[in-house]
């Protein structure tokens, strides 16, 4: 065998013609080490079980939902009414309000977060950064239910003051969207700041050396170089906004409605799941199964966004040596 070498333990012994000692240089199996490694592998495998569990649970209950006589797949995706009481299950109103909240949130968060990121990466001095970073982390660390409280007790009254009480309802999509925007701003700010800081300083120096101003350097050299990171950050934030529950559950209202008016109440997918499962939900009812069908749609929307964001980072990242 190749690795069972014959080794002379002592050259003189070989010369003397003594028996040549055989040494096995193969790694000796250690039972203890193997057991530990197996246990650790099992720990890692739990994440696979989690994914399988999510897909299985959502899929199985959704199948039951679609197998029932009250709903068909086509109706589910085309009907614009969600009224479980009268047997109308069209997910469009829920998806529509989710998208409205998300778009309003992104309209707040992308300019705000990006501006913060550019300021921190290009303009701020060390001391200002040392102050701003923890503040942004603080914003990111506040529980979402607190943001929900803020939306309902501060932003909504403020909106009603500005636009009038007949225009803006107590529960409305606008307030929820604005606050979700504040909630995802730290995500865009920190992730974009990472991307901007990763741009090598040689590019900045070259641009400044050619006579560009600091702003021109930032917006025409650094931001394009970090563009993939910024887009990825926005997509991650978008997926977060879609999955956000507490703010919309508190501020966006509790009636599924197909409307494009942001000042009317409209329940989102997450808000509906939270409301339906908040009561004592009995299993084997169409309500119980329906939230899993919504959950499945939600899961695929966020999963797709996350995968796309990773793909963008990998595919379009500008690599500088």
């Amino acid at each position: 065998m190749a690795d069972q070498l014959r080794v002379n333990s002592d050259p003189r012994a070989a010369l003397a013609g003594d028996a040549v000692k055989q040494v096995d240089l193969r790694k000796r199996p250690r039972i203890g080490e193997t057991i530990i490694q197996t246990i650790l592998y099992a720990c890692g495998f739990i994440s696979i079980f989690t994914t399988i569990g999510i897909v299985y649970v959502l899929g199985q209950e959704s199948l039951r939902f679609f197998a029932s006589d009250e709903v068909s797949l086509v109706e589910f995706f085309t009907n614009t009414v969600w009224q479980p009481v009268i047997g109308e299950f069209g997910i469009l109103p829920l998806v529509n309000s989710t998208m409205m909240v998300t778009i309003i949130a992104l309209m707040v968060a992308i300019p705000l977060g990006l501006a913060m990121a550019i300021y921190m990466a290009e303009y701020a001095s060390e001391r200002v950064r040392a102050f701003l970073k923890p503040v942004i982390e603080l914003l990111a660390g506040i529980p979402t239910v607190v943001y929900g409280f803020f939306a309902l007790t501060f932003v909504t009254p403020w909106l009603r003051e500005i636009f009038g009480r007949d225009v803006v309802q107590i529960y409305n999509v606008m307030s929820a969207g604005l606050v979700v925007g504040i909630l995802i701003t730290p995500i865009i700010a920190t992730l974009s700041e990472d991307a901007l800081s990763a741009v090598p300083s040689g590019l900045r120096q070259a641009s400044l050396g050619l006579g560009a101003t600091k702003w021109e350097t930032a917006i025409r050299v650094v931001v394009p170089a970090a563009f993939s990171g910024i887009v990825a950050a926005s997509i991650v934030a978008m997926s977060r906004a879609i999955g956000e529950t507490m703010v919309v559950a508190l501020a966006a209202g509790a009636s599924p409605q197909f409307t494009f008016n942001p000042f009317l109440p409209a329940e989102t997918m997450t808000g509906h799941i939270a409301r339906i499962s908040g009561g004592d939900l009995s299993y084997q009812t169409i309500d119980y199964n329906s939230i899993f069908a919504i959950g499945l749609v939600l899961f695929f929307m966020t999963l797709t966004l996350n995968i796309v964001s990773r793909m963008i980072v990998r595919r379009f990242r500008e690599v500088y040596e």
């Binding site: 080490e33 490694q37 495998f45 913060m116 929900g148 803020f150 007790t153 600091k214 702003w215 799941i273």
Partner: protein, 443 residues
Amino acid sequence: MSAEPLTPLSASTGRLPQGEEVKQNVASRQQRGKLWQASLLFSVFVGLLVLLLLAWNIVNDAFGGIAVQEAVEVEALTGGRELEELAQPELVAILEENLRSRVLRNLNREQPLAERDAENLIEVILFEIIKPEVVATFSLYDYLFNRAEIEAQLAQDFPRAELEFKSWLRWDFIVNPMSSNPIFAGVRTALLGTLWLLVLTILISFPLGLGAAIYLEEYQSDKIFDERKPVGRFFNRVIERSTSIISTNIYNLSGVPSIIYGMLGLAIFVRALEAFTSGSFFGANEGTTANGRTIISAALTMSLLVLPVVIISSQEAIKAVPSTLRQASLGLGATKWQTIWKIVLPNALPGILTGTILAISRAIGETAPLIVVGASTFIVTDPTSIFSKFTVLPIQIYNWTSRPQDEFRAIAAAAIITLLILLLSLNATAILLRNYLRSRRVS
């Protein structure tokens, strides 16, 4: 974008600016830069402003004025004395005089009046006879700056009511159990629930997350089976593939909305594993029909939720340990596990602990999955075991915020402050622990 010429001037004429034009051009570009810089700074200030508004909004609701109106005046009840001055038999007498016989019978059945101490009797008198009722609640701003207006309106609407300053966040609020009356309501049950959940989630997710992180960082490329046999090669290949699937999977899991984890918990831990999570399998059923909606179900759900974050942050910490340390240890003849246990982990521990505590403090503020898993919104009994029904602070905040009355909004704000203090102290612990471990490390 970058191909575009810098100024419209040179674009239109096709020549470079000369002489006086250059100065003008530079000056206007500099000015534009300053303008944009100011707008960036403005955005940062907007962020800070939002944070301040958020804080002010909470404080504004958690403190303020209340107008209390009592069904029966204390003086009329006791003949001008304070309740605290009365002896125990006098209190019993007051109760027997003023309550209907049915209510008295109920009270006596709970615990005979004669056996109760004065403190308890005063509580009963307050609750059953005096019934202090908050007829109006005012925010801190109104209480401080619109005092005259408030008093005028009160005198008109509730002439008997008294305006007083009220801090909704006070010691009673922390130690009182839940109540349907916001004046007496407290967060003890919810706070205990949160602490139970915190400890259990750490106990479950820390070992699992650390184990997975060690595997992914240290054993990723290790081959367990014999490479020379086709079967061994096959199994090695399977493990290698699954390991790479695990790492991408962890990243994808960290992006799944938390409410989906709640649904997973509802279907698996609450429903499918009901026999275990309700405790009936272990004979621990206390007769409280918790049917799987227990602390342990919530903790398992939360553990799955934080696991990806714990794994990723632990991986970062392990990655940061210099590989020369590993090589030195292996070179001295230590086995792989000895190297990990004695060299890598002690060096990575500060980072791992900080990451874990931060991840779990994030989970403690989570509400959505627990709503789905079935936290109770109204229970008065403290959790006593992992099979108890439970409620947590965020659920209480959600519940109180969604009610229309001002008093509930006030106690929601007080509960928010409690939760934020808890979270801040957790984070502070993480930082202190890291500094302590770093300073102790010999390197």
